[in-house]
């Protein structure tokens, strides 16, 4: 299962050392969007450490993480799970045809009051 190259890349991009994790589960305890995620923050840490990254790349969880940094702030071991999730997300969207959000999708999603912030940040997170 282990994909060494991919794992190394994820660790390098994220700057995260998953070995620091003591498996307390506080990241998943504090995650506000836990129920919308197939793989939860603690699983990202665990699965990246094991090199089991492909299931994460195929998972909806990448697009439901709110990047709210609660897991980063509250991790007692300074593991920073959100940075791992972002790195896996980047591994997907940096690949050819990997964009999750396309410009042509946008008009349908707009309403009069929607702030620009929502659109620019979605593009930054979900597309290259």
């Amino acid at each position: 299962m282990e994909n060494t190259n991919l794992k190394e890349r994820i660790l390098e991009i994220s700057g995260v050392n998953p070995r620091k994790c003591m498996k307390c589960g506080k990241c998943s305890a504090t995650c506000p969007n836990y129920d919308e995620m197939e793989y939860h923050p603690h699983q990202f840490v665990d699965m990246v450490e094991k090199g089991n990254i492909e299931p994460l790349m195929a998972s909806e969880s990448l697009w439901t993480c709110l990047s709210c940094f609660a897991c980063v702030e509250r991790c007692p071991r300074s593991v920073e799970p959100a940075k791992l999730i972002e790195a896996v997300r980047l591994a997907v969207i940096r690949a050819q045809g990997g964009n999750h959000l396309k410009p042509q999708d946008i008009p349908d999603k707009l309403d009069d009051e929607l702030p620009q912030q929502a659109i620019v940040s979605a593009f930054r997170k979900y597309s290259k």
Partner: protein, 664 residues
């Protein structure tokens, strides 16, 4: 010219595995002054020592070099062997060819070459060795114990039992410490007060023990066997010798809104107070920051009602000076402030409490008289969530928490959970844990009883957020084994806060020149072999001040500490270390550099008359070393700009000779 013998040890294969010992012995044979050189399997064995003794006699050796393990291991062994056949023990030098050579090299030629160089350096040093004789100093046969918790009490009792007088200095108005605040104790569930108060009374009654409560150590001078300590007896504004502890003043005191620290601030006490019923000494204390008389000059009610005239609003701090042979540190611990971890809402809801607060809520002498009621509305809680490891086991980058395991939380939480379920079977109890750590006699059995017999819900996971809303505490947590996020509507949340050393420990360590680790726990002289002594001679460690401990461990350490103190106080004289600094008064320019770096206060200055070349006399300020205080660390010899400071046994010349030999 010295006549030097060289003895190369194999240490089984520890040295001989990577160092060609025969070749080392052979090479060193040709060093100047070496008249005998040999190797042997275990030089520290009796036959190894005999080999050295015989050679000293046969070859009339004046110096010995043993190439072996670290001098911390067997330097004393070989010095004693030499002394037994009449050679001054300070004519023996060790070349450490194990820790500093064979253990760190893999390659035999490299290891062998380095061993030869280290041996050569030792030979060069011995050439400049001179016989040294250790001085002696008397021992003051009295011990000081700083801190009157269970650790300090136990140490004091054991020292007193051996016949030596002991003073306990306790900063709060009573002895008893944190244990006095505990409800029950694991794993036997006997009540803390029931087992602690007899010890407190015994300490009070023991003729050899003198309790200075509401007192602090103001200054410490001197050295092992001869400490001069000043103790500040803080003004209680109550005459201790007159007060009978009747408590009438505390009842009549009109200022009743003072947070009661004994109950963790969960109820109030009066401005004149006795901390708890079994306080020792049972004497009232006026809290000047709340006392109306002290603040405004009006009131004086306590003085009016006191039948024995014990109140003295003008009392001042008193200072006592005393000589001690040994000092025991027993300053204990406190829980960390959990407000930085406010994802658990401690500062937002009174129903989120620390475990120590929970002890008080369960205790018959606590704010709820032992009925478990949640603080916000005094209702009986039906769902309680316990959170483990709050602030313990954190990464170094996490400045809010501690890196260590606080050790006692797993067991006291199991106790809280079990007792809650026993007294209130209608209450649901959850314990969120990362690991359950129960290494202790009958500890795991205890934890299993909480789960199996009492139905406590142990959940592998952590609480991530507590939201007080509509009278409930909405707990969001992970259940890692079920791979679920849990949402529990709790009535109370109990936080197992990490423990840290008492705040008084750091300034005390500075006063004692006793070393501490980065967490402000006192460091022991050796983590395994000298666990109750500080590296500073004459300073001993008892209880939590050295590291997290439960009561059984604390009491064991307290008694071990007492044994060490008794051993010291039983001696009439102490043999000093002759390898101390001395100052060459002709070279000294009185600049004070050495005094500033001396960690032991061993250096003083004196004005001395010197004859000048033109036959006049001049008075110069020169450094003088007190050899009884000097520990031979050598800091002054490095700091001295004029080369006046030198260390016996490690003179500048000897060190340079070693360096020259190594660089040859």
């Amino acid at each position: 010219m010295q006549r030097i013998g060289v003895f190369v040890c194999w240490c089984g294969s520890n040295i001989a595995g990577t160092v060609d010992v025969k070749q080392v012995a052979e090479m060193l044979k040709h060093e100047p002054g070496v008249v005998f050189s040999t190797d042997y399997q275990y030089m520290c064995s009796e036959s190894g020592q005999n080999l050295i003794k015989d050679a000293i006699k046969e070859y009339d050796l004046t110096g010995v070099v043993v190439c072996s393990c670290s001098p911390r291991m067997h330097e004393n062994t070989f010095r004693k062997a030499a002394a037994s056949v009449g050679l001054n023990p300070y004519m023996v030098e060790i070349a450490n060819i194990r820790e500093q050579c064979s253990w760190i090299h893999k390659d035999m030629p490299v290891g062998t070459a380095k061993a030869v160089i280290l041996g050569r350096a030792a030979v060069a040093k011995v050439h400049l060795n001179a016989p040294l004789t250790a001085g002696e100093s008397p021992v003051a046969k009295r011990a000081l114990v700083i801190g009157g918790g269970i650790a300090g009490i136990q140490t004091a009792l054991d020292i007193a039992e051996a016949g030596f007088p002991v003073d306990i200095v306790e900063k709060s108005p009573t002895i008893g410490g944190k244990m006095a605040q505990l409800d029950k104790t694991f794993p036997t569930l006997d009540c803390a007060a029931c087992i602690l108060t007899p010890k407190m009374v015994e300490a009070a009654q023991q003729e050899k023990i003198n309790i200075y409560a509401y007192s602090e150590v103001d200054s410490v001078k001197g050295f092992v066997g001869n400490f001069d300590v000043t103790i500040r007896r803080k003004a209680r504004f109550v005459k201790e010798d007159l007060c009978t502890g009747c408590g009438l003043c505390t009842e009549k005191c009109p200022m009743k809104k003072v947070p009661n620290e004994f109950n963790c601030g969960m109820d109030n006490r009066s401005a004149i107070y006795i901390p708890f019923a079994q306080a020792v000494p049972k004497v009232a204390t006026i809290d000047a920051s709340y006392c109306i008389k002290k603040k405004t000059g009006k009131c004086g009610l306590c003085s009016t009602v006191c039948g024995v005239g014990a109140i003295d609003y003008d009392q001042k701090d008193e200072f006592i000076e005393q000589k001690y042979g040994a000092i025991v540190v027993a300053t204990g611990f406190e829980p960390i402030s959990v407000e930085k971890f406010d994802e658990f809402a401690y500062s937002q809801s009174p129903d989120v409490v620390t475990s120590l607060e929970y002890e008080r809520l369960m205790n018959a002498a606590g704010p709820t008289s032992g009925t478990l009621l949640r603080p916000s509305d005094k209702q009986h809680p039906h769902t309680i969530v316990f959170v483990q490891c709050v602030g313990s086991r954190c990464d170094a980058k996490n400045e809010k928490g501690k890196q260590y395991c606080s050790k006692v939380c797993c067991m006291y939480t199991a106790k809280h959970a079990m007792l809650t379920r026993e007294k209130y079977p209608d209450t649901d109890v959850y314990v969120f844990y990362i690991d359950v750590r129960t290494p202790g006699k009958n500890f795991d059995e205890f934890y299993r009883r909480a789960v199996e017999d009492y139905g406590v819900h142990y959940i592998k996971g952590m609480v991530g957020k507590v939201v007080p809303e509509n009278g409930k505490l909405k707990v969001q947590a992970s259940d890692l084994l079920a791979n679920e996020q849990l949402h529990i509507d709790a009535d109370m949340v109990v936080l197992a806060a990490a423990i840290e050393p008492d705040k008084s420990a750091r300034p005390l360590a500075t006063m004692l020149t006793a070393s501490m680790d980065t967490n402000d726990f006192f460091t022991e002289a050796h983590p395994k072999l000298r666990p109750v002594e500080s590296p500073t001679a004459g300073v001993f460690l008892s209880g939590m001040c050295q590291g997290p401990k439960d009561i059984p461990d604390t009491v064991s350490q307290a008694s071990a500490c007492a044994a060490k103190v008794i051993g010291l106080l039983s001696k009439d004289k102490l043999t000093g270390n002759p390898c101390v600094a001395h100052s060459d008064e002709l070279l000294c320019n009185g600049c004070s550099s050495c005094e500033k770096v001396c960690p032991y206060g061993a250096i003083t200055y004196a004005d001395k008359e010197f004859r000048m070349p033109d036959r006049t006399t001049a008075v110069r300020r020169v450094a003088q070393v007190n050899p009884a205080v000097c520990q031979g660390c050598g800091a002054c010899t490095v700091a001295c700009p004029s080369g006046a400071m030198d260390l016996y046994g490690f003179s500048n010349q000897q060190i340079m000779a070693e360096v020259d030999a190594i660089c040859k």
